[in-house]
Symmetry: C2
Subunit: 380 residues, 2 copies
């Protein structure tokens, strides 16, 4: 099931654009690779390539770095030699000599629920491999009073060219200004802000929340409980807005008491649910802003002997592993995190290479995954 996306442009693909040919090439295995001990078998250097191609090392360098002003015929000669010798530029030498480090940092929150980070990691890793960059990790425990210090140390000691900031790290303006001050490009998984040249990717959280709310309304639910997430995540506000918009679109009155605060944790989902179910007229459906809280909702409802979905429909967000491992399996909203992270990291690499980066808004579509935790309203 794939509910309608928003009317804004949906941007996809992890294409990285033209550039360094070498880094792209997935070289075949060679005898040299196979030789026991890379410490003995010497890898070919730029000199070997230059000699074989009959040009200077500088020209080889130009070809490798996709610089302009190389005759097409020359480029082909060099490329052939590179292929012949299975040449790969030595990163240490490049770094030592040039101004770039070929390293991208990924700063993430180190939470209990790791599936989001896992997906981001997979996407970023893929883009880095494709682009010839190395990915370095900085796990952060929040809240962290030394946040800025830690980030600063990471950036300066690890010699980073750029940084990827997934949610919620990408929402910290303090980190953004630090990186701006340090003149380090960064890319965020977050709704874009003012800057025209900023790098960011996000998904239509608000729309997804609207969709899932509408889905419940279509099943006959009118009393809709909503459990907010940790306000530190920008998504928390967007999801709430989507809920509100759906209410309005269906002329359902907004009741303040149907909305509870949570912190994205299992426990907070439970206590919010307790408050909701204690109402004189409790909701027949509860929208939790993530799956952990939805699991808490199910837990709490079960404690009270409520049947799901007969007595209470429950939906979550994020389609984390737990969503399909609890009973009943959760109806939830899935984001294409891996693709988003890959695309985002690709954008950052483009920028680091000085390639032009499309400045239009980059928006991915979420969609509702329907499972057994939701059903038509049966109670009064």
């Amino acid at each position: 099931m794939r509910l309608g996306a928003s009317n804004r442009q949906i941007w996809r693909s992890g294409a990285i654009g033209p550039s360094q040919l070498i880094n792209r090439m997935k070289l075949p295995m060679t005898d040299q690779d196979q030789a026991p001990g890379r410490r003995t078998a010497k890898a070919p250097t730029i000199f070997d390539v230059a000699k074989q191609a009959g040009v200077s090392i500088k020209t080889v360098s130009r070809v490798v770095n996709a610089e302009i002003n190389v005759r097409e015929s020359t480029r082909e000669k060099v490329l052939a030699a590179i292929n012949d010798l299975h040449y790969r530029p030595n990163t240490a030498a490049r770094v030592l000599s040039g101004k770039r480090f070929y390293v991208i940092g990924l700063i993430y929150e180190n939470p209990n629920e790791f599936s989001y980070v896992q997906k981001v990691l997979n996407g970023a890793l893929k883009a880095c491999e494709a682009g010839g960059y190395t990915l370095l990790l900085l796990p952060l425990t929040l809240p962290n009073p030394d946040l800025i210090q830690d980030v600063r140390r990471f950036v300066s000691q690890s010699r980073l060219d750029g940084v990827v900031l997934p949610a919620p790290i990408g929402d910290f303006t303090s980190i953004q200004s630090l990186l701006t001050d340090l003149d380090i490009p960064f890319a965020r998984i977050a709704p874009r802000m003012s800057l025209a040249d900023e790098l960011s990717i996000h998904c239509n959280d608000e729309q997804a929340s609207f969709d899932v709310t509408q889905f419940l309304i279509d099943q006959g639910h009118q009393r809709l409980g909503f459990i907010k997430g940790d306000p530190i995540h920008a998504a928390t506000a967007h999801r709430f807005e989507g809920y509100l918009r759906a209410l309005k679109a269906n002329a359902i009155e907004y009741h303040r008491e149907y909305v509870q605060d949570g912190q994205f944790s299992f426990e907070s989902g439970g206590s919010a649910t307790r408050a909701l179910l204690d109402l004189r007229s409790p909701p027949s459906a509860i929208i939790a802003s993530n799956d952990d809280m939805a699991a808490g909702t199910i837990f709490e409802a079960r404690e009270r002997g409520l049947r799901i979905p007969e007595d209470l429909s429950v939906v979550g967000f994020d389609d984390t592993p737990i969503a399909s491992r609890i009973w009943p399996p959760l109806t939830t909203v899935r984001q294409p995190i891996v693709e988003m992270a890959e695309a985002l990291t690709g954008l950052l690499i483009q920028k680091l290479r000085g390639e032009p980066v499309d400045s239009s808004e980059r928006l991915f579509a979420c969609h509702v995954v329907t499972r057994a935790s939701t059903g038509p309203r049966l109670v009064n």
Copy 2:
């Protein structure tokens, strides 16, 4: 609750032993770090330190690398200069010049349940940071026909000094022989094999399984179902052995039909449970070899209207996030994964530095975490 550990030596601590002072130092922030744009503010080099200390650069290099044959007074002078200038050796130059890369690879299975990898990652990252190494990641999807090729490419293209192999990757002998051929040191989370100088750390899986089985027996259970895990994991066999030993120790007859195969997945836990509950005399307690399967067990039991733990006690292994997010919360076995990974990576770094490595068996203790999914036997 902490059930008895085995009688073998329990090894702990992430201590790394004497060595490179520089990499250890967590340098304070300096004006230089703070200066906007590390591209402009030049970092001090070995020459600056040498001049300030009044020695040659080679002597500085010796101090930094903790080489022998440096007079104590000289070492102190150099150290003082290093501190003064906030000097840190340039990795690119070190790599280019020397024979080491200061990079450790982590090869892991990229599963749905990521919490194990997350913990390993955290531990390895910590040790790498302390030791001045960079951690590079290779996620692998299993089964993978190109396994060896992928690993080979990773090792040779990423210029690794050593590799960390968590479970189940550490159980692949093909990878071990490849790395041995390539002359790349590696360290495994796995029971040790024959080699005396191998690097490995593991926990007492067999004992933990014995303990949890004994725990159930103590609660009055006699008909104990057991769901095996994926045979690719060495832990699968050990956990089964612990179960068998506990049966024997309590003079409970072993029934083949009480043991079902699983693959560590939620689904396989469900179908194994179906088979167990279909028996004429179904078990009153089920031991699943991991939490996902235990969740499947709970799911299936619920489908049949069984109450947990009144009608059926359930235990899992690993204390993954799901264990505390389902109803009822799972009694399970927790391993100190983060500590194990940190210690293991520390050992690898020691070896890479040529320091002596303690060759005794390194064993960590697991323990049973008691939650609501288990209780005394009530049914006949």
